[in-house]
Symmetry: C2
């Protein structure tokens, strides 16, 4: 059971055959089946996601990670408290959140939460733009069992031919570049976009444009913090963990858990 | 046992008290202790790392992840085979490895392998330079239970005051910038540097310089691929998974598992 739990936990959203377990663990399939039932029941009881069984010759089991609803609410509330710290306000009224975006403990939780929203979508890639959203996008990709793709702001000699588009960044208000190696996405793919913060959605529009160049489509967006002062009608499947609505007169950041976590 | 395995697996290198387990799982400490012994023995038998016990009031258990030696060798060999694919050679005789650096399945394994080399060092931060090494550095940080710090090539308005140094990049041969927010590293910290590829070590020298500005020290370096044609005497603790020694006359990349994995 320990080994099954470990293998499932390290291979989220991957179909693993009973043969793999039985060879790896040197165990009879009947014993394995019983143990898998216990693992599944424990995960369900603790609301840690689902263990699905796919029957047939090409079948096996698949673990779809999740976190229980109470823990999601707690996580979102704690994140708000941390972000409200006055020391986080940097010149220009931005909130410093780089340390959170690079904190494995926070980002692995956030990654499971965002991935769970998309677990029933047929997704080929998780896309992000360098730099701050990369660890979060990586965690979401891992939990969905797909590859990560990172658009860059400049071309690199080590990537071969690239496609570049221009977009208007919300935070700087300037026209910027976004590049992606031609070989990084297969034509006709479906993707989701993950980032740290969204204001007006200029970057997301850029991603939609960039994906068009690969005959590919954006299915959804997930961010850690959403600026809800700006109305965005980019895409139907849009999820955030924390909502930001500006600064009050005392210079305090107005932050609340997203509607889903209240 | 399922729940203990899951919690340990998600909190590598973190000391978790028996109280936490007993509250979370609503179980008696005596039962827990027995289950922990089984988890520890299974991990040891499968060579998946150590479960250490720290006794006393502030004690608990701590999981230090690892992978068994045979799997490390296999992983390193498979990586060489994948990288040898002729389609990976891009103009300028670089090897395209971006897809591997962003592949969660590959990078989570590589992250455990590199982290295991440093599991007995007192490390405060894992440092990298944007962009390609970020997911790997993030995984190493997660496995070591510490935070990640990413040096950027430009200053960002959202980061507050930054420290910038210049360094000579090995791959482009040009002088480049490397910036780090002043608040990102506490003075007097010890760090390791993780990256995708190392040629002459110019970037690593830049990191050493940058850390000096924070009165901090580089303890070790870990990369996925090391160019062994260039002699580097940067630092004692230097580890790689694959060794690259240039191209042969047929335009094939010369790649071998690092000495440790032969």
């Amino acid at each position: 059971m320990v080994a099954i739990t470990k293998i499932l936990n390290e291979n989220p959203n991957k179909l693993i055959s009973l043969n793999f377990f039985s060879e790896r663990l040197n165990a009879a399939k009947s014993t394995l089946s019983e143990d898998i039932v216990i693992v599944r029941e424990t995960f369900e009881k603790m609301q840690l996601g689902k263990v699905e069984t796919v029957s047939g010759a090409a079948g096996g089991i698949k673990y779809i990670p999740d976190i229980n609803t109470e823990d999601k609410k707690k996580f979102s509330n704690e994140l708000c408290e941390v972000l409200k710290d006055k020391n986080r306000v940097v010149p220009g009224n931005f909130i410093y959140m780089t340390d959170l975006m690079y904190n494995p403990k926070i980002i692995s939780r956030a990654g499971i939460i965002l991935a769970a929203f998309f677990s029933d979508c047929p997704i080929d890639y998780v896309v992000t733009v360098e730099t701050k959203g990369i660890p979060l996008a990586f965690e979401v990709a891992k939990n969905l069992g797909v590859e990560l793709v990172i658009a860059r702001r400049d071309n690199k000699v080590t990537e071969g031919p690239t496609v570049t588009i221009n977009y208007v960044s919300g935070s700087s208000g300037r026209i910027q570049n976004m590049s992606l190696a031609k070989r990084s996405i297969k034509k006709g793919s479906t993707c989701i976009f993950i980032d740290d913060f969204m204001k007006a959605g200029g970057t997301a529009l850029g991603i939609i444009d960039l994906l068009k160049e690969f005959d590919s489509k954006l299915l959804g967006i997930g961010v850690l913090v959403d600026n809800i002062n700006v109305d965005k009608k980019l895409i139907h499947k849009y999820y955030s963990i924390v909502e930001f609505s500006g600064m009050d007169n005392n210079g305090d950041a107005l932050l609340e858990p997203s509607k889903l976590f209240k």
